[in-house]
Amino acid sequence: MRISSFLYSVRQGLKNIRRNLLFSLASVGTIVSCLFLFGIFYCIIVNFRSAMNDLKNTVTISVFFNEGISDENINLIGEQIRLRDEVNTMDFISAEEAWDSYARKKYADNYDEAMASFAGDNPLKNSASYKITMKDLSNQAEFVNYLKSLDGVRKVKTSEVTADGIQALSSVVGYASIGIIAILLLVSIFLINNTITIGITVRKEEIAIMKLIGATNFFVRAPFIVEGIVIGLVGSLIPLALVWLLYDHVVSYVVGRFNVISNNFAFVPIKEMFSVLIPISAAIGIGLGLIGSILTTRKHLKV
């Protein structure tokens, strides 16, 4: 296609939008609401996932060893565990560290005094352990069984209820979001379809003349495809701006107002969030416009 023809198609596409302004606005409005909700869900899901990851790292598995086990055997067990795919992080907590950490919590006010009173005696001398976090909590039960089967392992401590709960909640939120967004996407395609159909009806005579003069199929369809793309693009930019403003305000408000949340949970930074959301939203918007216009021109413009 020549540049002049391309520009001509773009001009005609924009003209179509102006001619059917009301329907074009309705289509843009639907895409805006669809992508606005998508943006909101996306922000919630991303933050939820981030919280989930933070939580996953707090859901630890502690592996304790048989009394009197040698350091060499502890290292051996550690090497075996480290080879497993399920392991995300693994730290060795020596008996001294375990006691020190416990004492700091228990005797926070008179730590030095308390330590002196034990005179180097470690009440938790058999409490050396490996603290493990997993990449995927769904395999926890199986992994724990493996750990228990290892020679020299006395006890494995887990928090299985938490792990299952997080997993279930994450799935429910994910599926619900996909369902709602899918419905909205279908509604958007339907409305774009209507808008373009009206555009085609309005330009019926022009299209008929174009065909008789010898315009190619692509040339006849191009303005309508441009129309769809522009509607999709505008429909994706508006919600991006809205979600940006909303996210910025909500995060500042929550962080400033609720210390409990801000102390325990870090929101995903806005730039990090939008570096993914912008291309996804734009692609969905343009994609919707493109699919809607191609479907309609195929149906109504048998050239």
Partner: protein, 229 residues
């Protein structure tokens, strides 16, 4: 230029043939009238020549293109070789005269620099150079038909099909259009005019093919309008 062999056409659901065993051969550079009353098959013939419809049976060849073998994607290429004008002009009302003629070149992707040169030349040919900024509704019927003619000719077609080009015009304007068509024909374009304007057909003394109920009842060189009854 045009070659129809045993062409039959029946509208979907129709009982009778709109065209029944039509055989026509028109040589390049000819000027031919196709006449007949309404329902004689004139419009069906034009639609078949423009490849808007497929014949029920028979062969059609235009400008060396065998319609039976023509692929759908090549139809636009064929139509670029055929200019067409209609009784109701079919101009775009929201565009100026210049834009209407330029439109024909835009859709076949002619570079802008050629459009800027060829459109004024074509408007001069049809005597409307000074009205290039006007809109169709500001022109008389005859002027509008001349714009339609300019649009049909701007891509330099080998064949010009005119479907009742004087149907909506008064005698004076009708003669102006016919003179233009004659000029165009003299310059080498094959012209086929579908009409039921008896006076013009009789005066111009061109080849006349008469259709009646879908069949050719007469084909005469330098013929006149034949009453079907």
């Amino acid at each position: 230029m045009i070659y129809l062999e045993h062409v039959k056409y029946k509208y979907p659901g129709g009982k009778k043939y709109a065209l029944n065993d039509v055989n026509i051969k028109i040589e390049p550079g000819e000027f031919v009238f196709i006449v007949g009353s309404s329902g004689s098959g004139k419009t069906s013939l034009i639609k078949l020549l423009l490849k808007e419809m497929e014949p029920t049976s028979g062969n059609i060849k235009v400008a060396g293109v065998d319609y039976g073998k023509l692929k759908r994607r090549n139809i636009p290429k064929l139509r670029r070789r055929i200019g067409v004008v209609f009784q109701n002009f079919r101009l775009l009302k929201d565009r100026t005269i210049y834009e209407n003629v330029a439109f024909a070149q835009r859709v076949v992707e002619t570079p802008s620099r050629f459009i800027r040169r060829q459109v004024p030349a074509m408007l001069t040919l049809v005597g409307l150079a000074d009205k290039y900024k006007s809109y169709p509704k500001q022109l008389s019927g005859g002027e509008q038909q001349r714009v339609a003619l300019a649009r049909a000719l701007v891509n330099k077609p080998e064949l010009l099909l005119a479907d009742e080009p004087t149907g909506n015009l008064d005698p004076k304007n009708s003669w102006e259009i016919m003179r233009l068509l004659e000029d165009i024909n003299r310059k080498g374009t094959t012209v086929v005019v579908v009409t039921h304007n008896r006076e013009i057909v009789n005066m111009m003394q061109k080849r006349v093919i008469t259709l009646k109920k879908g069949e050719i009842i007469s084909d005469e060189q330098k013929g006149g309008y034949i009453d079907e009854d």
